[in-house]
Every structure is written in structure tokens, then in C-alpha cells.
Symmetry: C2
Subunit: 320 residues, 2 copies
């Protein structure tokens, strides 16, 4: 079957005769119908996580082998595959399981392929009201909605989302459903019209008031995002960091201490609330799709996803 | 009167005929009997805060002019002088007052002088059981004890204090009074014997278990303290940053996001609990005094405070 594979130093390659993965006990075999390219995938192509294998962790597909309640169903899947036995799993932090593999990110082949395997317990059936193109956003929307778990969002709190890329526009749409006063701060005006269509208040980051925000969510995906957030956050306020990137950021941490700011790292979120948000129709994801490429054009698709101005680029296996 | 003054590029100088400061309305005139040199003072001599004037913010002294309840009393003083009117003061964050001056740090002459002035409301009378040499630690101990306000300290939680300098040894002594399991992690074995005398469990930082600590308090005062703390902190754990230093730290922030760690900046703390801690006799500060210099030898004293292995260096005005 077709699959994209990555390893260093060969880079990303299209494998036309990749073996169909064989589900282990407790796993489902899923035929991928649509996969999404995420910033993390682009970081992986730069060496992040030293990953080798099939990348990709955003997908929707149909279960071809698995337990009866899933067989033939359209599913999305949580990406952390966990042991349920280690200290962190027992502490209620399964997404931090010390033995975990992560779909397309760590120790497990991912979704840029015609087929993938995943523990059946990770799979969630997609309600009929949600299209494939919407469902493929579940993982990213779950990560976006997880910001609500990181920090209390008081009514009337001033909240800034920094960055209006794929993740920033989802975080902003989720926060716009809460009673905070929300600004989406952007470095170029490129996304202003799209943000406005999504009902968001867009403003230039450079002229935003220093120290004015109770909560700043960094969705820039850039090394200098924390420094920008520290400038915007009020003393005693909170910064939620959503960005991961390979390499070191040079940042003056004195404002963090002097202003007694909290910085909270936030990664994956639970899928059930994300599917519920999608089913409400109040989170607009179709507007975020830049292009759909056939899986065989994967290298071009990943290049397109990394180009300035790109939003979500999707991959559709030919078999679907 | 004698005072040490700092300005760039002249550097630190001894002024022998510095004018005695004149208290404004609501302020007390305090004759300094002992002052302490802090890491922040050393940073100021490197340009931190662009401060110009008399540095020094740790002191004990006697009120010569001021309200009747303070006159003739031995006092210590909170260093943030605030407006009580701005949004941050009204929010209950007076130490972050936007109009604040800070004794010897920002916009206000400090304690490396025979006299200083400070709002009377900032002054706290020192109980007789506390010696001058102990009282001069009140400000630093207040900052150390403020760690308890930054993060919940569950019984049996594994807590690491990173660094065994002036601040680290006070933070560790405060945390040792709570029911956590505490390790003080040090980069050289230099402080091992002193820590053990203080009843602390000392261990080398380099071989401490990665991801083993629920809470890590960075008291290294070094640019790479956060990176070390990120290595030690468990997923979902908390890092309290106590260090300020001038300049940018190069740090890989990916572990902060991937491990969903919280980083909490912590600066000044309230004086009343610190005086209560000193009065119990359970916090040992006399052991932390490296040397006492006359004020006129201030430049040598600041050099000594910055030398490797130095703990607290004190300045005693000749008039006291």
C-alpha cells in the first residue's frame, strides 16, 4: 500500500509497496480516508523527536479490523497509546505515560498512509453530522480546547491568542464561546479578513498594549512566541504555551519572575469534548482548509503546508 | 553621610558627603544599622533595571523620623512602594503596582547608606528575640517563603530546590518545615556540609532522576536554571522560578509543552510570615553570613559577594 515515510538523512519519501500494518491484540486496523498535516509534522521533518517511520497523527478513517462495536465505523483516534500501569498513568496523566507511543510522532507509524493501526480504546466513532473534512480536525481541536483546562477563564478576563495559524484560529474559536474578552493578535494582516469572517476580533500584535492581558495563549509556533507573550501578559497573569518547535529559544526570563507570571505548557486534549464542539457547528473548520492533495503527492503537500500563509493541508489516499 | 552610589558607566562609588535623605509625607527616615548584599544587587551592577542611585534593599535600622508608633523602633521594610490606586493595586497585587518604586532597585535610593527613607506603611517592627544579623534576612526569607504561595505542596510530594546559594538555602529551610520530601540539588559539593548542618538532604544535580520531581524550585540564579529544572520536573509538575538575571537564556521549551509543565515566576513575599519564621528560631540564617564589611569598604564587599562560594555579605555603616 502507499505510505509516506520519513527518516534522517533520507527525508520524506513515498513508499508504493509499504506493508499493510498488522493490528496487535487490542488494536484496530483503520483505512485512512483523510489525514491532516500539522506543525508538528513539519518539525518532525526538521528532526524533532528523532522520529523515523510514517508520520501523521490527524486522520479520519474506517475500521476494517477490530472489535465488533467499531468494525465498519468511521472513526478518529487519540494519538497517545499508553500502558495504564506506570506511575503517570496511575496518577491520571495517561497522555504522559512513560511507555507511550504516539501515532506518527514517537515509536509508532502514523496516518500518512492508506492504513494505520491504533489501540481500539483510542478510537471514537464520528457522528454522522460531522463530515470527513471536519472530523480530521478533531485532534487539533482537542488540543485547542485543552487550553480551557490549563487556566481559569474568568468572565470579562482579557485574553489574547497570539498567532492566527491553524491552531490559533481553533483556540480562538473555542475561547470565543466563553465569556472572556478575546483579541487575536497577528503579526501580519494576512489573516485579518479570515478571522473577521470567523467572528473573531483581530488586532496587530506589535501595537497591542503591554501588560494588558490576563491570559495569553501562544499559538505562534515560533521561537520568540514566549517573549511576545511575556510582553503582553499582566503581572500575576498566565501564559499558555501551545507551540512546540525543535531547538532553543533565546528569551529574557526576568519578566516572568518580576511579574510573577505563570507559564503553562499545553499539548493534547481529550477527543469527546472536541467531537461535541464539532457537532454543534459553532467551530468553523472548513474555512481552514488550504488544499487537499492525493497521498502520492505527499512531499508536495508537506511543502505546501510549510509555505507562508498556508492553513490546513489535507492528504487523501487514492483508495478512499 | 556615607553612601554607595551606582550609575553606568561610572560603576559603584563611595560618596562620603551624600545628602541625608528627607522623608516625604508618610515616609520614615531610617538609620541603617546593617544591610545585606543580594544577587539582584550584583545584577544591578551589570546593568539590570538600568538603575542609578544608591542600591541595596535588604536592611535593618532604627526609625529616627516618622509616625510615633515607629519612632525609635528597630525596623525592617518591604521594598515595593506602591500607589494603592492603579488597577493592579486594586486587584490585590500591590507588589506589582504600575507606579511603584522599589528600594534600591527602581526609582528609589536604597540601603547601602547610613540613612534611607521608606513609606512608614512598609516598616515592620522587629521583635526583640531577633538579632540585627537575623533581621537583615527578613526580605530574602520573605521571598523564599513566598514559594509556598506559588504552588500547592502536597504531603509526600517530591520537591527539589535547585541551587544552594543564599536564596536556595532559605527556600530549602522553609520547605523542610512542610511535609514534602525535599532534596537540595547542587552542582558542586561545596555546600554539602553546610546543607547537612542545616538538616537538609543534599544531592548532586547531575545525577538526580530526570522527571522525578513534582515541584522544582530554581534558585540557581543562572541562565541555564530553567533547562535543568525542565529535566527534573515530572509531566504535569510545577517549576517555581526565583532567579532573575540580566540577559536572555537559551532554553529548549519543547519539554515545557510536551510535558505540560507549569512554570511560575516568584519574586517578593510578605514580611509578617517571614518575621514569624525568624522568631521561631527554626530558620538558620547566622550560618549563611560569609562576612561583614564596613560600608566604606562597599566596593570590596560587593566583589566578595560575587565571588564563587560567597554566601551573605553584610554592610555595617560606621555610625552604627
Amino acid at each position: 500500500v502507499f505510505a509516506l515515510t520519513y527518516s534522517a538523512p533520507a527525508g520524506l519519501q513515498l513508499a508504493r509497496q509499504h506493508p499493510t500494518p498488522v493490528p496487535a491484540s487490542g488494536e484496530a486496523l483503520i483505512r485512512v480516508t483523510l489525514a491532516g498535516i500539522c506543525a508538528t509534522d513539519l518539525e518532525i521533518l526538521r528532526g524533532y523527536m528523532q522520529f523515523a517511520g510514517v508520520p501523521g497523527h490527524e486522520f479520519v478513517g474506517v475500521v476494517e479490523q477490530g472489535p465488533p462495536h467499531l468494525r465498519g465505523q468511521r472513526v478518529v483516534g487519540e494519538i497517545n497509546c499508553v500502558c495504564h500501569a506506570c506511575a503517570l498513568c496511575r496518577r491520571g496523566l495517561p497522555t504522559h505515560c512513560r511507555q507511550r507511543t504516539v501515532l506518527g510522532i514517537a515509536g509508532r507509524d502514523g496516518a500518512f498512509a492508506e492504513y494505520l493501526v491504533l489501540p481500539a480504546e483510542n478510537c471514537h466513532v464520528v457522528p454522522a453530522a460531522i463530515t470527513d473534512q471536519q472530523a480530521v480536525f478533531t485532534e487539533l481541536l482537542a488540543a485547542a480546547a485543552h487550553v480551557r483546562d490549563a487556566v481559569p477563564l474568568e468572565p470579562e478576563a482579557r485574553v489574547a491568542v497570539l498567532g492566527a495559524g491553524r491552531l490559533g484560529l481553533l483556540v480562538a474559536q473555542v475561547l470565543a464561546l466563553t465569556p472572556v474578552r478575546l483579541d487575536v493578535l497577528i503579526r501580519s494582516l494576512q489573516r485579518e479578513a479570515l478571522g473577521a469572517r470567523l467572528g473573531l476580533h483581530m488586532a496587530p500584535a506589535a501595537t497591542a498594549d503591554a501588560g494588558a492581558y490576563d491570559v495569553v495563549v501562544d499559538c505562534t509556533g515560533a521561537a520568540d512566541g514566549l517573549a511576545a507573550a511575556l510582553r503582553l501578559c499582566r503581572p500575576g497573569g498566565a501564559i499558555v504555551l501551545k507551540s512546540t518547535y525543535a531547538g532553543a529559544a533565546g528569551v529574557d526570563l526576568a519578566p516572568l519572575v518580576v511579574n510573577e507570571v505563570r507559564v503553562i505548557g499545553s499539548r493534547c486534549g481529550p477527543f469527546v469534548p472536541a467531537l461535541e464542539l464539532l457537532a454543534t457547528g459553532r467551530i468553523h473548520v472548513d474555512e481552514l482548509v488550504s488544499a487537499v492533495y492525493p497521498l502520492a503527492a505527499g512531499p508536495a503537500a508537506l511543502a505546501a503546508a510549510g509555505a507562508p500563509g498556508a492553513l490546513k493541508v489535507l492528504l487523501r489516499p487514492e483508495s478512499s
